[in-house]
């Protein structure tokens, strides 16, 4: 197991390298230039030229890549073109907000989706099952930003229960209640898309399990149905679901970018969108690499969990 993990971690290096080359190439191939290269009537061309020269943007792309890689290996992701501060600081500043949002939404997705998935599976083809299935597809089909705005309209504007955005009340002392109060809507919205998938996934996984021999054995022994399902069934049915969490991590970065904008949540998703529009290459690369890292780590965790939870699997 340990040697397997080490092997996997070592394999991450060429994977991340490949991703960095590809992202760098795609980023430069996209039309448009960094915002600082844009024309500004108030800035004379020679001044702009010297700024561009100083940032090394006139060098051939492979040269720029090697320079970037050299710095990254030393832990330096460069300085944002548009914000003029070290990219690492920018990301570290906002990462806790994004992680908090992601973790809460995973939590919400799990506590809602898994019970519904189980109910849906144990009462297959019942009205409840159809209801849950229907609900899942509605959730899956509802765009995050739309749902977000609708919930803000309802809970913040009409009812006045929640703030329209932000992480905390400005100027107020730190308080957990205040934080949760700001967190609940965006976390719920971010959770909806995953909830739908997770429900469906739990349902099919449980369906497979409830038809297994050992469930029949458990029933034959005279255990109560609840105990059969939740103790014997769910335990095995959840294995593939838990691996889903590992795979969901990277997709949440994408989803959080939109939710962060709607709810004015100062996280890295929003920063990524801004950086893309401004072609702020160091920031784009840093967040892309972060996403890539999260993906490979998520995969690794999924595989490890799989082995941990299912003794039949060995690496």
């Amino acid at each position: 197991m340990i040697s397997y993990i080490i092997k996997r971690v070592v394999m991450m290096i060429p994977i991340l390298f490949g991703i960095s080359v590809l992202s760098f190439a795609i980023m430069y191939a996209a039309p448009g230039k960094p915002a600082i290269m844009n024309l500004d009537p108030e800035i004379p061309p020679e001044v702009r030229e010297s700024q561009i020269e100083r940032l090394g943007l006139n060098d051939p792309i492979p040269v720029q890549y090697v320079r970037w890689l050299g710095n990254v290996v030393q832990g330096d992701f460069g300085t944002s073109y548009s914000r003029k501060i070290p990219v690492t600081d920018m990301i570290l500043d906002r990462l806790p907000n994004t992680l908090l949002l992601m973790a809460s939404s995973l939590f919400i997705a799990a506590i809602i989706a898994i019970p519904f998935g189980v109910i849906s599976a144990t009462r297959q083809y019942s009205l409840t099952d159809y209801g849950v299935t229907m609900g899942s597809f509605v959730g899956l089909a509802t765009p995050n930003f739309w749902l977000g705005i609708m919930l803000i309209m309802l809970f913040s504007v009409q009812l006045g229960w929640t703030p329209v955005g932000g992480v905390a009340t400005i100027g107020a002392e730190f308080s957990i209640i205040d934080r949760l109060h700001h967190l609940i809507l965006p976390a719920f919205v971010l959770a909806t898309a995953d909830m739908a998938g997770l429900t469906r996934y739990t349902r099919s996984s449980m369906l497979e399990v409830v038809n297994q021999d050992y469930i029949r054995t458990a029933r034959a022994k005279g255990f109560r149905e609840r105990r059969v399902i939740y103790k014997h069934g769910l335990r095995n049915g959840l294995i593939p679901v838990i691996t889903m969490f590992g795979l969901m991590l990277p997709t949440m970065i994408g989803g959080s970018a939109i939710v962060e904008s709607v709810f004015n949540w100062p996280g890295i998703g929003k920063m990524f969108i801004d950086a893309t529009f401004q072609r702020d290459y160091p920031v784009i690369m840093a967040i892309t690499m972060f996403g890539a890292l999260l993906t490979v780590i998520g995969n690794l965790i999924a595989d490890i969990l799989y082995a941990v939870l299912d003794p039949r699997i060995e690496y």
């Binding site: 019970p115 329209v164 100062p266």
Partner: protein
């Protein structure tokens, strides 16, 4: 068993969160410190009238500020904060006329127009209590001239030869050549020499200790804190030389998105925001807010690629302008909030001409002009010349609803005279790349120019700017080049206005752009905010005079 407990726990947690969401509503009122009223000021204000000291406002801002150092800022989010923290020699008033700020008066200008002498007010203090003197002014302006200066403004000071301290409160700027626009260069905030003199100029741009964490100026508000992605907090500077501001606290709240900003206004979480014209109808329904509108210092236009047929023919360009009902565009798209434009200027500018050639809406006349240029209707009703159809693309940037609508409405108007125009939108970065050098790949673009305080038209209309890109429509006119080249050397404003007016007349006649309109800009503010002055360029103008009524 374990799973059952877990489920129960999760269920409890969910219920807990829901309860939180339901009952937490009350502690959400916008942060307002009903701060103590400073006694010595209250008396004075009471004597003046209604302005009550105290209170705070929260302003919405849509961008993340980059720097609070006035020598390096390039964006409005930064400029708004800078204007509150820093004080400058001069400022422009709401009529765009220069008025003294920390200078006692406008500068004395020598006979030959090369020397500008400013006298400073005595007792102007920085936030740390040090006095602002002529030394600080020289220190600040010497940075612009330093060869290590990395900021964007070096070009503004090419004519500046030297800055000389005459005495503690007198400073003289000497130019090497007459520059009529130089007077407008005195609105940069003055930096404190005693804090920054040991920082090498080459490192100043990224000297975040000052630029971002602890900027000190002599302006009406003191910097407290900047939380990335969230807010910037300022408090009144007790010893501001022109008197302590009425408000105790000003907070900028950073928004990612205009919808979110507008919702925050609706729920009373912010007091002030710049209102996009597209949201006017929504904002008009708010009982607790009011909208202030003034003409913006800018004009919107359709730029024709003068290097490309058929737009290289002046008659074609004139005909296109005549075929576009600009008043209808203002009425339909801008909700009537703007004026039809005829020249690349702004009615707000002193250089705005009394009258230029105007091309009114006249589709018949347009057809005649096009016929003269050789365009005749083909079998399908589309104009043709030498077998080529009159068909082209109108480009604008993605996400800009107004420009998209202009593209569509122009398409319909031109279809009526048999011209086929296809509107297309592109992402902003890609759009700029395509229309600017070295590509110049467009037929027509819908765009706008925000104008500077000085009306020098060189940067956009001189033919040498084709290569640099601001003249990306490749407009060439020798007379314009000649007049533009010399306009900054004319000190007398009336004489200069005449020269610039001649340039405007040529441009109005030749229609390298179809000048669409001079738009209004709108600010939405909570009714509790009083004493607001709407400045067309400076959002934070005279914020020290604002006060709040409860």
């Amino acid at each position: 068993m374990l799973n059952k407990k877990l489920l129960m726990l999760l269920g409890l947690a969910l219920a807990f969160m829901l309860v939180l969401a339901a009952c937490g509503g009350n502690d959400d009122a916008p942060a307002e410190d009903p701060a103590d009223e400073p006694t010595e000021e209250t008396d004075e204000d009471a004597a003046e009238g209604e302005a009550a000291a105290g209170g705070s406002v929260i302003l919405g801002t849509s961008g993340e500020p980059v720097t609070f150092n006035p020598l390096y800022s390039q964006d409005t989010a930064s400029a708004d904060v800078i204007d509150l923290i820093h004080a400058s020699l001069l400022e422009s008033d709401e009529n765009l006329e220069l008025i003294p700020m920390i200078a006692t008066d406008l500068p004395e200008i020598s006979e030959d127009g090369l020397e500008y002498t400013f006298t400073l007010n005595e007792g102007v203090l920085f936030h740390d209590g040090e006095e602002l003197t002529a030394e600080d002014v020289k220190f600040t302006y010497d940075i612009f001239k330093n060869e290590d200066y990395t900021g964007p403004r070096a070009g503004d000071f090419t004519e500046l030869e030297s800055v000389e301290v005459i005495d503690e409160y007198t400073v003289t700027f000497t130019l090497n050549e007459v520059d009529a626009s130089f007077i407008t260069r005195h609105t940069y905030g003055i930096l404190p020499k005693h804090i920054l003199e040991d920082v090498p100029v080459a490192d100043l741009e990224e000297h975040m200790e000052y630029n971002r964490n602890n900027p000190v100026g002599a302006g009406p508000f003191e910097f407290v804190e900047y939380q990335d992605g969230q807010y910037i907090e300022l408090v009144a500077f007790e010893d501001y030389f022109a008197g302590r501001p009425n408000l105790d606290k000003v907070t900028f709240r950073v928004f990612a998105d205009t919808n979110a900003e507008l919702l925050a206004f609706e729920t009373g979480e912010i007091d002030w925001m710049i209102l996009p014209a597209t949201e006017l109808a929504t904002a008009e329904t708010y009982d607790h807010g009011r909208i202030s509108s003034v003409l913006a210092l800018r004009y919107d236009y359709i730029g024709w690629n003068n290097d490309r047929a058929p737009f290289d023919d002046v008659r074609v360009r004139q005909a296109l302008t005549m075929a576009i009902d600009r008043q209808l565009i203002v009425d339909e798209i801008m909700d009537g909030r703007g004026e039809v434009a005829h020249a690349p200027a702004s009615p707000l500018s002193w250089a705005y001409p009394d009258g230029v050639t105007e091309f009114d809406y006249d589709p018949e006349g347009a057809l005649e002009l096009l016929a003269e240029a050789g365009w005749e209707p083909g079998a399908d009703g589309i104009l043709e010349k030498d077998g080529e159809k009159f068909s082209f693309e109108i480009l604008s940037n993605d996400g800009n609803v107004i420009r998209r609508d202009i593209g569509v409405i122009v398409q319909q108007m031109l279809a009526e005279i048999g011209v086929e125009a296809q509107p297309r939108q592109m992402e902003w970065g890609a759009f700029l790349d395509q229309i600017n050098p070295p590509n110049y790949d467009f037929d027509a673009v819908v765009l706008a120019w925000a104008l500077a305080l000085d009306p020098d038209p060189t940067a956009i209309w001189h033919s040498r700017e084709i290569e640099n890109g601001l003249n990306n429509i490749s407009y060439r006119n020798d007379r314009v080049d000649e007049l533009a080249g010399g306009n900054k050397r004319i000190i007398d404003q009336d004489e200069r206005a005449a020269v610039i007016g001649e340039i405007y007349e040529i441009l109005a006649e030749e229609q390298p752009y179809t000048f669409l309109y001079y738009p209004e800009q709108h600010i939405l503010l909570n009714n509790r905010v009083e004493g607001f002055t709407h400045h067309p360029r400076v959002n934070m103008y005279k914020l020290n005079e604002w006060y709040v009524s409860e």
